[in-house]
Symmetry: none
Subunit: 214 residues, 4 copies
DNA sequence: CATGAATGAGTGTTCATTCAT
DNA sequence: CATGAATGAACACTCATTCAT
């Protein structure tokens, strides 16, 4: 006899199963907002609606909670855009600017980018996370950018610059914006804020002009 | 025969004069290595070869110790660079590349650049430090870059781009290198290391070409 | 057979409920014995049979612990006394003497009166505590005395003296006894001890006679 | 050959001889103002114009400095007034009020009274000081007051009250004023200040009326 | 004698972690 | 499983006291 709880678990049970997920979610918010050291485990537990002791039932200590948060929330911002990118018809210069703006809108501007800032900040204390991040995020992203630049060169639109270096000319401003957004940004008066899209546009255009073969 | 004390100050005195410098050096090391919050003042003192109490004889509190470290290792270099910059004769394009390379050689490549990474990492937890850094370091540096770009525009060498945005096209790659150096870098195999000067050179040239009026 | 846990709460729970009271009692002892500044919170905790951290579970800081001690041991008794006072029927002269004796028996003669001595001793170093004490203890007590004196005047029993000054003719001897008890008293040979109730009685009678309209 | 320094010592030498005195003076001010615990020996030394180390040349530790300050500065407020008192012709009631006012003007209102407050405050930590103070100050003062009261009784002006108790009716308000002046007083708004002479006058008159034989 | 640099034991307070219930 | 009371090791900062010069 199939009881209700087989298909639609009671609230209690559903929550129980979700405990780790809810804790990870709460921890993500707080770690991103405050960093590792300044986040108190009790606050994480409270935000997840459980007691402090319960958190330690699921994660043996704060460090492991942190690592789980990072591993769980690292987003692969490449996968989504790669397909669209491949279909793009038109000048590579326009593609480059479009790609950078898309990266910002879909990733840099979202909460998810907080995890990148977090990793950059804490990498030296958690080397394994840094390695993990490099493999999962940086390498694919670099490859994508590299392919776009190579496309421009192959099509004769760009000069044959050193692609391995040029890709950082593309990524650095984006990462800079992410870092800024999560560090100095909140401390700055509005008059000193940076308009991300305006900056990306102008930077992309400078880059394309700098790369162009004319 | 002149005694030692005629030419060299007494041990006590000599040490006394050296104390602030020794403490600042130890503090720089530890702040860069562990961040502001995770650095314990006692460890700074011990590394400088004195007791905890002695540190507070020279710096009233941890925050002021940090500010002194910043002044010694970041503010001074930037100011020195600015002075040399003013004497530069020649094309602004060359000046820009030279400035970026100098920034790297004199600051980015040194231990002191860890301070910038630290600020980026912990600004949100220590708003006072962030404000201090913005006023003492970022604003002067931005003004310097802005003046170079404006020089190029005024001399007709650069197009009249938005200087407030372009300035980040100059700084972002430098800060990216610093972040990289102090976070992901140490975890990367040598094959994936970035050659900072080669990157800066190429980026500067892309930028100059992108800015140029021809 | 009903188990113990049916009638008595579990050891943990019982202790938990008792904690604040035990801490307040230990704190009263030590504050009175050593003063505010010289009392270490850890010693309070230890005397209450808990660790230092536990104290901060119940009181956010040393100052609030002290305020709680004052509320428990000074404010409450004063308020209770005031209530009984209101019900008093009879001559104001008798009321005055009765009030002074009650004040002594219920407060002055107890450990709690050490708080008044402590405040007199340390007020200048802890202005916040002084203000707190003035608002919570002195003002209500003064108001009570003032109302009694006014009652005597209104009923024609007392001459219309300056009530704001006369109030100190009532309080000063009481505070003098408290100061004496907690400072010089313990150092005096028994032959020189003051008999508090005899003194209060005679002083009250002198006062009433001095105030009386006959 | 009598050199100048025999009669008028050089500033240097004079100061050297006065060192202990200057230290005691500086210490008096600070102990009275802040109490024993809150007074820092360095501040005492600075105010006396010497270095911290020098203070320990003259006083082996803080406690002994404190005791020296007290012993040195305890004033015998009786001696001066006793002679005048003996010559007083007229009603004892007037004598009593005059004596109380004089005590206040010549002692209570001066800095010297700070030492009484200090002793009352710290007596429990320095029992030997309390004993010393009792012998040197309290006993003579009590004797004087007692003699005045006895004079009133002997002359038939006062009723035969218990003189050993009544003397506290005289002293308590005076000591209360001293304590108030050095503790709560400075923390109170001007509207709540006590006018010492007005209070003493009214209290003395209440007392005299209470004592009088009519 | 005098200095003041140096010390280190202590203070209030925080917080990750444990464990009896 | 879940709780939350309890712990104790840190940490920044203070200050009486010492001692080489």
């Amino acid at each position: 006899m199939a009881s209700v709880s087989d298909t639609l678990p009671h609230k209690r049970e559903r929550r129980k199963q979700d405990r780790p997920g809810e804790l990870l979610e709460a921890a993500l918010d707080l770690f991103v907002e405050k960093g590792f050291a300044a986040t108190r485990v009790e606050e994480v537990a409270l935000r997840a609606g459980v007691s402090k002791g319960t958190l330690f039932l699921y994660f043996p200590n704060k460090e492991d909670l942190f690592k789980a948060v990072v591993r769980e929330n690292v987003v692969h911002p490449v996968n989504q855009g790669a397909a669209e990118l491949a279909q793009f018809q038109g000048k590579t210069g326009e593609l480059l600017e479009w790609m950078m703006l898309q990266w910002w809108r879909r990733y840099g501007a979202t909460k998810a980018s907080g995890i990148s800032k977090l990793i950059m900040s804490e990498a030296s204390n958690f080397p394994d996370l840094a390695t993990f991040f490099r493999e999962e995020v940086i390498k694919p992203a670099d490859a994508m950018v590299r392919s776009v630049l190579q496309r421009g060169i192959d099509q004769g639109e760009f000069r044959p610059v050193n692609v391995d270096l040029a890709l950082h000319s593309v990524m650095a401003p984006l990462l800079f914006l992410v870092m800024w957004k999560h560090s100095m940004g909140p401390c700055c008066p509005t008059s000193e804020q940076i308009d991300p899209e305006a900056f990306i546009s102008q930077h992309a255009q400078l880059l394309v002009r700098g790369l162009s073969n004319s």
